[in-house]
């Protein structure tokens, strides 16, 4: 005797709030990874590295590594890591030179930097890509921090630039370029975690 078909699943009473695509990568995909390890800037005291570009169809994530060679007596320094992404400090204000500036530049001239972080970024309509968003930062102590970033929007073919500047710390505007094709190929390698379900 065959069983009656199962009733369709009830609509979940509590739907998870999904953050928009310009704030985080798609949760239902495995990224393609670009195995780059870049050093964007290095002085005798400080270094800024960038690794691990993780690409999706909607954009790419990467990790900034902020390094201080040794504790500097008398210096107030979390790299400006929290100043780096807002937290109440005006990047154009009186402490502008202490604001660690980071950005990505596409070959067609479009760019996204950390100078326009808004607390309400995840509300409102979709912004024009590219945009840059701080996802997470982790620091073991004063000497080493990892900052996880999300760039909304994929670059066009051509050079893809990563740019930093930190005037008060003797880091002039510095850029490293990679071939955007690496990112686009990695984005094409991203796969969905759940293939389309079979029809019930």
């Amino acid at each position: 005797m065959s069983e009656p078909p199962e009733p369709p699943p009830e609509e979940p009473s509590e739907v998870e709030y999904r953050r928009p695509a310009w704030v985080e990568p798609p949760a239902d995909m495995v990224p393609g990874i670009v195995p780059v390890e870049l050093i964007l800037a290095r002085t005798p005291q400080r270094a800024i590295g960038l690794t691990g570009i993780r690409a999706y169809p909607t954009g790419f994530g990467c990790t900034l590594h902020l390094r201080l060679r040794e504790d500097i007596p008398g210096e107030q320094s979390n790299f400006g890591a929290f100043n780096m992404f807002g937290d109440g400090v005006d990047p154009a204000g009186e402490f502008a030179d202490y604001y660690l500036r980071f950005g990505v530049g596409f070959a067609d001239g479009r760019r996204a930097t950390n100078l326009n972080q808004r607390h309400d970024f995840d509300e409102g309509p979709a912004p024009d890509p590219p945009t840059l968003w701080l996802v997470r930062w982790e620091g073991y102590d004063r000497l080493a921090w990892e900052v996880s970033l999300w760039v909304y929007g994929l670059p066009p073919p051509g050079p893809l630039a990563f740019v930093v500047e930190w005037p008060a710390r003797d880091i002039p505007e510095s850029r490293v370029e990679i071939d955007a094709g690496l990112v686009l190929e990695a984005a094409a390698r991203a796969v969905p975690i759940w293939p389309d379900p079979p029809q019930r």
Binding site: D90, P91, A92
Partner: protein
């Protein structure tokens, strides 16, 4: 050409406390030259201090202090005594024309945060302290009429009859006349 373009300045959009819940921001107050002992037990005292008058109202601090001997006692939880002790400390002001105002929130109009209430209205901006003392900034919106002005508190809650102090409201009104704007107009 620089890669980084500084953003345009944007004015702050923070919430401002409505004018009827705080002293005027651009005035220097007139000082009311009294400190008032409102209630006292063997172990604690309640005072009204730092009275400052403006044309729109009166600012003061409701403070509570333990007797110095209390500080020597070992305490299981140094926070607990003062939090519980002052929890039900409500203040009432009684005017010469019979009006009264109180910080008991049950007596506040429901919409006081968005709709300007008719004066007088008595508000307090939180409270803080430690076992050494507790302080709560208060604001009376609207000046009292001439005549007696009583500060009354019922504390410890429910145990003693209410106690308080009466002053001459003219002390407050004269101090309000002495308030000056920080940036004179004209």
């Amino acid at each position: 050409m620089s890669f980084f373009v500084m953003p345009a300045w944007q004015p702050p959009t923070g919430y401002r406390i409505p004018a009827w819940l705080r002293p005027p921001e651009t005035m220097v107050p007139g000082i009311v030259p009294v400190e008032l002992l409102l209630a006292r037990t063997d172990t604690h005292a309640v005072l009204a201090t730092d009275l400052r008058a403006y044309p729109t109202g009166l600012e003061f601090a409701l403070t509570a202090r333990p007797h110095p001997d209390q500080l020597q006692q070992p305490r299981h939880d140094p926070d607990r005594p003062h939090r519980l002790m002052y929890r039900d400390l409500w203040l009432e002001l009684r005017f010469a024309d019979g009006q009264t105002v109180s910080t008991d929130p049950r007596r506040w109009p429901r919409t006081f945060e968005t709709n300007q209430p008719d004066p007088p209205f008595l508000y307090y901006h939180g409270a803080g302290g430690s076992e050494r003392g507790w302080r709560s900034p208060h604001w009376l919106w609207g000046l009292p009429p001439p005549g007696p002005l009583a500060f009354v508190c019922q504390w410890p809650a429910g145990q003693n009859p209410s106690s308080g102090v009466e002053i001459d409201a003219s002390l407050v009104l004269e101090a309000a006349d002495r308030a000056v704007p920080v940036w004179p107009t004209g």
